[in-house]
């Protein structure tokens, strides 16, 4: 006889009276349909549960079952290429079972339990294994080798090893004699609670950039592998486009894309596009390195909160294998709003704008799970987090943006005015910053060019100067400026339009290697230097512009293909020639 029954129901929040068996953050099953829920508060007389599915049709008096475990995800081969909802239910399998609409109480195993995986053992009987050690590998996709690891906090001696052959994920492949004498079987999968960070040996300093092939990021505001970045922007400024571009082109091994409270069509788009696009390095479809978590805005709000943690846990699992993982969370504001909604239903005392007072600590816990780590098996792996923020009314002073700003080290502020002018990426170079520039400058000097950081500095200086001049231009027009200041404005236009603006739909411009970025900067700065010289000889700016060389340089991003970088060297003589024509 189960005496734990529902007492009250209010939206996704359900309470149980006089229950003592539940513990905080425990996963429970609610009602006859066994809807998944989580315990979020306990008092002497009432236990409060948030339900991850729609509560329509529930009745007081229906049973609530304890699971005695926190909410966990299943980790094993079959995660990549898949699309899950916020609590790791495979959406394709659900679609097969219940059609186009998601019914409540769908109980589907997270990973395909019937699929066969080719397992190669890496250990033999008598080996001593510790937590995190790799005992077998599975080719999960053409791109990624899945490394099976002993769960953390477990160690023992191998007493039996299966043959190298195909297994299902729940088949036993290794038996361990644990240190306390118990026998423990290892299968192809393990479980891990989503709200606990997976352990690592140590945190390593940050030194390698996450190369994105997008000029404004790589050059001006780089993010490191293991770093954190926020993309705030009002609607229509291109947050999702930016996230998609990064997911497509950044040089992480694995991408975890979390669509948290966003549009259903966007997830469909990611699914379609990524299966058509190929990875530039391996020529395999991008889906081979991608896992999608889709909790669209019309799916239950409580699962939206979980989706972020589910994504992070999957990311950490692959990091522990020694991969560099990038997780895109679109959008963290929806996650914060889910917190607010649940908090409101619990009648908690609200802080700023109705958000709960624990918002900052939740945000920091989330971003602090990023990092460049030495894993338990002494490999190096990283989790980089790129979170979109959707501030209300595009006002960056709202609590989610402000608190996020405190805990991330890259801030890529999207700007409405730039988006209106269809300047993409609409990243405002005055408001954005990256704290990783110094950490990464060594890498750029060694791997790209010793002058890279210097050139970058010159570009930012010119842009800053332009911003100041534009203040004047707005008041009195550009005609009255002296020629050297006009040159700053013109060259900044070249930087803005010819360099920062990048066309995601142009085959050559959608991804630009660092070497090309370096050369493009060289050309622009050379143009600036030479034009300045011409001006100092007393020739007017208008004649320089008339040569058309500025427009030519602006279009170099389209005119020079990524595999013909030597063409960029011809721009210097072209500039000289054009400027020499001026009488």
């Amino acid at each position: 006889m189960n005496e734990n029954v529902i007492y009250s129901i209010n939206g996704p929040v359900v309470t149980v009276k006089n229950a003592s068996v539940f513990s905080m953050l425990e996963m429970v099953y609610v009602g006859h349909k066994k809807l998944m829920g989580e315990v979020i508060s306990i008092s002497r007389d009432a236990t409060t549960i948030q339900v991850y599915e729609s509560t329509t049709g529930l009745q007081p008096g229906e049973p609530v079952y304890a699971s005695h475990q926190p909410i966990q995800v299943t980790l094993g081969p079959g995660i990549l290429r898949n699309i899950f909802d916020g609590i790791e239910r495979p959406l394709r399998a659900i679609a097969k079972e219940s059609g186009a609409f998601i019914e409540t109480g769908s109980a589907v195993a997270p990973l395909d339990e019937e699929a066969l995986w080719q397992v190669t053992m890496k250990i033999k009987v008598g080996d001593k294994l510790v937590g995190g050690q790799i005992y077998a590998t599975v080719p999960e996709t053409d791109l990624i080798e899945h490394r099976l690891m002993v769960p953390p906090h477990m160690s023992g001696e191998v007493v039996w090893v299966g043959d190298n052959k195909t297994y299902r994920i729940h088949d036993e492949v290794v038996k361990l004699r644990l240190d306390n004498g118990d026998l423990q079987a290892l299968t192809l999968c393990q479980k891990w609670p989503i709200k606990t960070a997976r352990p690592v040996k140590e945190r390593l300093p940050i030194s390698i950039p996450l190369v994105t092939g997008q000029r404004i990021f790589d050059t001006l505001f780089p993010i490191a592998k293991g770093g954190t970045a926020a993309i705030p922007g009002g609607f229509g400024t291109g947050k999702t486009m930016t996230q998609h571009q990064l997911a497509k082109w950044c040089d992480a091994d694995i991408i975890v894309y979390v669509g948290c409270g966003e549009r259903g069509n966007e997830m469909t788009q990611v699914l379609e596009e990524f299966s058509e696009l190929v990875d530039p390095k391996s020529q395999k479809p991008l889906t081979d390195r991608t896992v999608l978590i889709a909790n669209t805005s019309n799916m239950p709000v409580a699962a939206r909160e979980a989706s972020i943690y589910t994504g992070l846990t999957l990311a950490e699992y692959y990091r522990d294998m020694g991969y560099h993982v990038a997780i895109m969370a679109d959008s963290t504001s929806r996650w914060a709003e889910a917190l607010r909604e649940i908090s409101g239903r619990l009648e908690e005392m609200p802080a700023e704008e109705g958000f709960p007072a624990y918002l900052p600590s939740r945000i920091s816990q989330f971003y602090e799970r990023a990092g460049y780590m030495k894993t338990l098996n002494d490999a190096e792996g990283s989790v980089s987090i790129i979170g979109a923020v959707s501030p209300q009314g595009a006002d960056f002073s709202e609590p989610v943006t402000q608190n996020t700003k405190r805990f991330v080290r890259c801030f890529w502020a999207l700007d409405k005015q730039l988006a209106y002018a269809r300047h993409y990426f609409a990243i405002n170079w005055n408001e954005s910053y990256s704290e990783y520039v110094n950490d990464l400058s060594r890498w750029y000097m060694r791997n790209v060019d010793a002058r890279f950081m210097n050139c970058r500095q010159q570009l930012t200086a010119l842009l800053a100067e332009e911003t100041k001049l534009m203040e004047i231009v707005k008041l009195i027009g550009s005609d009255v400026l002296p020629d050297d200041q006009k040159l700053v404005i013109e060259i900044s236009k070249v930087i803005r339009v010819g360099y920062l603006q990048q066309n995601a739909f142009h085959p050559e411009d959608t991804y630009v290697p660092l070497a090309k970025q370096m050369k493009m900067m060289d050309v622009i700065l050379y143009l600036y230097k030479q034009s300045k010289k011409v001006l100092s000889e007393g020739k007017p700016m208008s004649l320089i512009l008339k040569t058309g060389i500025f427009d030519k340089v602006i279009k170099m991003k389209y005119d020079v293909a990524n595999n013909q970088l030597e063409l960029l060297d011809t721009y210097m003589p072209m500039i000289d020639e054009a400027l020499a024509q001026i009488e």
Binding site: S8, G57, P60, I102, A294, S297, N298, G393, K474, I476
Partner: protein, 480 residues
Amino acid sequence: MGIQYLGLNEISGPLIFLDQVDDVHYEEMVELHLDNGEKRLGRVVQLEGKRAVIQVFEGTNGISLTNVKTLFTGKAMELPLSKELLGRVFNGSGQPIDGLGDLYAEKSKDINGSPLNPVSRVYPRNYINTGISSIDALTTLIRGQKLPIFSGSGMPHNELAVQLVKQAKISEGDGKNFGIVFAAMGVKNDVADYFRRSFEEAGVMDKVVMFINLSNDPIIERTLTPRCALTAAEYLAYEHDMHILVILTDITSYCEALREFSSSKGEIPGRKGYPGYLYSDLASLYERAGIIQGAKGSVTQIPILTMPNDDITHPIPDLTGYITEGQIVLDRSLNQMGVYPPVGILPSLSRLMKDGIGEGFTRKDHSALSNQLFAAYAKVQDARSLASVIGEDELSDVDKQYMSFGALFEEHFLNQGFQEDRSIQTTLDLGWDLLSVLPREELDRVDDEVLDEFYNHEKAVKRFSVKQPEIIKELAGNEA
């Protein structure tokens, strides 16, 4: 028949409270039978032990603690459905009000729907030709999209909606499988009437299903209106292979009804008093647009909302913009200048447009043209703000050209008649002619190849009889 409960324990605004009830489901439908024979409908919104909180759709006027019998139906709210929906008029909670009697239902469905599985969606790619230049060229409407119109009081959003309905064309099926579901939430009597008359005049009434909740109708019913409409739309689209255009007007009234209801429930308010779950609630409406695998039909939504005080950062337009796939923003100053439709193109956007235009859909130069028009018009705004400070005479020559481009663009491109139906070819050609007014160097968003084909300065100068600024002539003379 279930148990009937006699009397109530408490009444507060649209809510009634019943103690000592058994076997009640969350969100189930409730029938209230008043002593005077009247029947009202309600829904369970909160359960606490044996206490049930019920919202009454028609309001609690005339209800006392003793004069009512409550019957729990055991079902969530459902809408009866059949192909006969077309041509009918219903009230906000799905009861027929056209005097033609009850619908002979083939089946009935929960009006709340279920979330659509993202893997079962088909990414929308087919464009809908609306015959309106500013929309077709710059914020193309795609089948299966949700594209709201952000308007303000006194602006012609209703006319625009009617024009869209009249002119919207899809390429296949001769419009036979095209239908409209119209949901009016808290609209004025005249407006509802205007829509009905316009549909009749356009001869499309037998393709329209109307759900009407007027501004003096109960607010709870208003929160159900869009859900009924979308349930009808989904049924027609996915089970009868129709392409359904859903017009929801006015979302602002809907949100205000939600706020009123939320505060009467004593919930903690979020921004501007709107409930904290406004985003989720709006999403549960807007996300019901789309196309699903295996069905031939589609649901396209055009919600209309009036921005309070023309403020786009107000929570309603703000949250809407975060959910919908773009927005069409009407601009008051254009409206005052007599430009119809007054689409302010800079803040307007269609997110799905990039995949539904170009070769095979519209024309290969479409995306280049729209990018360049946006960029050029943004420069027009800069030039205008500069001109307002230093005067137009002091502007540089390029800025002056932008000024004249801006005026021509508004006069010829944005402005078009209420009856004028422009083909996509006409619209795109017009766009190129306007861009050709500008010097070729200024068109920096377009490849040279495309420019070679479409840029024609002489033609443009002739067509719009532009006065060539002196400097251009001079330069032209020098080069020759």
